[in-house]
Every structure is written in C-alpha cells, then in structure tokens.
Symmetry: C3
Subunit: 140 residues, 3 copies
C-alpha cells in the first residue's frame, strides 16, 4: 500500500502533516509493519520534532538559518550554485543535513510515535512550493 | 516481530546497545530482512558510529556541544523555547540533525553492520532519562 | 533480495551510483516495496542530492569542510581521536550528521526518486577507499 501526500508550502519553516499520515495508515488496515516516508525533493526535508510548543518550530528555523545563511551573507560567498537566488544552495545543504526518508514502526494498529512527536515537512525555500511525500506501508 | 529497548541515560553522551539489539534479532529467528530502529523522543537520537576507540564518543559529544551550545551561551540568546533549562532547545536541535530512525539490512542471519559500527543512543539532555527505542524486524 | 555495491573513492567528495542501484532493483523483478541502502562504514555517508548541476556537489563538499575542518585547523584542536590524520575525526563527525541508511519506496516498478534526486556515496576521507553499501529490497 502506498500513497503520496502533497504539501503546499509558503516559505521556509515546518508544516505538520501527522494527522494526514495517521489517517491514511488507519485506512490501509495494516496493524503491524513499517511506514516509510520519502520526500521527492532536494531542497526540503522531513522531520520528526516536538508538536507541543510552536516555539520549537520558530527556534529550529532560526537555528538552521544561522547554520546555513543565505548566499547574500558574506560568510557564504564561497558557494557557486546560486542560479535560483540566495536561498538556493543553502536549501540543498539543509536538505543534506536533515532527513529525506523516515522509517516508523507500526505496532498494534498505531504508529510508534512518542507522545510529543509530530511529522513535519521542513521547507527550505522562500517561495511557495508544492511538495510530494511518498508513503509506503509494509506489513509484517 | 517487534520489541522496545529501554535505555537509562545519565547526562549527555553516547550509550551503546549493539549487543542487546543483535541478541534480540537472533531471538526472532529471522535470517533475512530489515531491522528498523525508532527513538520515541525529540531530545535524543540514534547513531551508528565507531565502537573501537572511546575517544570518538568524547569528540562527538564535544563537537555537538560546540555546534549547538546551551542557551546560557550568549551566541544562543535568540532561542525562545527554554522552559526546561539551557539544554532544552539545543537538545531538540541536535535531535533534528541526528537520526530518529535507522534501517539496517539483515542478511544470512546477521545485521549488516560493518566491523567498527556500533549502535548508540545519543542523549542530548543533562538530567537522567529513561529512553525508549522501538525495534521492528520485517522478514523478506 | 540483497546485494552489495562496492564504490571506489579517491578523496573527499560525492560519488554517484544511482544507475547501478536502479539497474539492480530492475533485476530483482520486484515492482512494489521498499529499498533499504546501508553504508558499512563510519567515515563516509549516503546522500540523496541534486544530480543536475555538478556545482551542487562542489558546494556540499565545501560547506562540510567548513562545518567540520580538519584537525590541523586551530578551531578543531579540542578533538583527541586523531590517530589516522587530520581528516580522521572530522570524517566520523560528518558521518554522524549525514545518513548511514536510506529507505526509498519502490512503486509500480520504479524507485520513487524525484526528477533531480541522485544517490551518492559521500566520502569524508582524503585517501582512496573501497566502500561497501548493502542494498535490500523488501516486496509488499
């Protein structure tokens, strides 16, 4: 069983889609197995992080903006792949550091996510994008 | 087949549990498939790293402490999610950069780990914690 | 079904092996499932990144060289695991930040890679190495 989630982004930041994934896993009828999530892009990421306090998302975005500033920042002047603007190569770098795939056990009809774990698409580009995440459940 | 490993941590650093995982995989009787490991928290990580020289673990801890210092460090004053102390938000950031899930092939009755690869729980919080890692084997 | 890819590296940088993987997946005859890739080393990584403009690979290498400079750089003098030279411990650190395993859905006979996604072995050591990547397909 597989599907694809389409996620609309409006600039850098985290977009939660835990409910959509859990609802689809329910529909598959599979109670035990592994869910694989895979994002089909090189300038955004998947992330599992705290879903209780929205400040965590603000801080994550701020940290990664400092770790990999836009190429308008003099410290990043060594980067050469800048066709699509100052957020282009930094987005690829962030997409290397953060997950492109996630594997989540499915046990007794539920994803094994902890109480505070939410599923996010982490957008690294400034402009709006339509992002595709492929989901696959293997039973067993 | 699935189980959960409970790992007691006493502050930041790496806690190896390779043997426990290998012993459980043996018990399942599955000789070919994939082992999925998943940590149910947002302030610690899984990690596969060198298990020969303990200095590697010292250096890894030191690097990540410098990459993401506690919020008592002036350079981190921009972080706002600091309820639970100076190691709170840095722990979430480290847990974003390091793996939450791992997928390890099981071939001819053995995990495909290389000679020097050990499995670790990487704790990012200062206080003792009880951490849960869900393990699932799919045969095939 | 499983195999191992042997990849010869000649210093730090990215080595693409998308075609080899796609050809092997074709040979398995499996049309739906999940491909697991796992690198059996602690000083190189797997990476999915843009395969269109080679400058992306140049920039990725440059970024990670700056994030984790060799231990000849005074800023890294705190590292103690330096037996094998100035690229030794930095390689372990990069191998912690970048993926050791990847999970890619296989849908309708094709890997779910996006148009611009290539599969790479990211070598973090200076000297030539022979690297092993285990591949496993689970059908379902």
């Amino acid at each position: 069983m597989h599907t694809a989630f389409s996620i609309t982004t409006r600039g850098q930041g985290l977009y939660e889609f835990t409910r959509e994934v859990a609802a689809w896993v329910d529909q598959t009828g599979v109670t035990d197995g592994v869910l694989t999530l895979f994002v089909r892009h090189t300038s955004c990421s998947l992330l599992i992080q705290e879903n209780a306090d929205p400040d965590v998302q603000v801080d994550l975005k701020a940290f990664f903006q400092r770790l990999v500033p836009p190429t308008t920042d003099p410290s990043m002047s060594y980067l050469i792949h800048t066709y699509e603007g100052p957020d282009d190569m930094p987005a690829h770098i962030k997409a290397s550091v953060l997950p492109v795939s996630l594997s989540i056990p499915l046990v007794d009809g539920r994803l094994a996510l902890g109480t505070w774990q939410g599923l996010y698409l982490f957008e690294h580009r400034d402009r709006p994008h339509q992002r595709q995440v492929v989901a696959k459940v293997l039973a067993g």
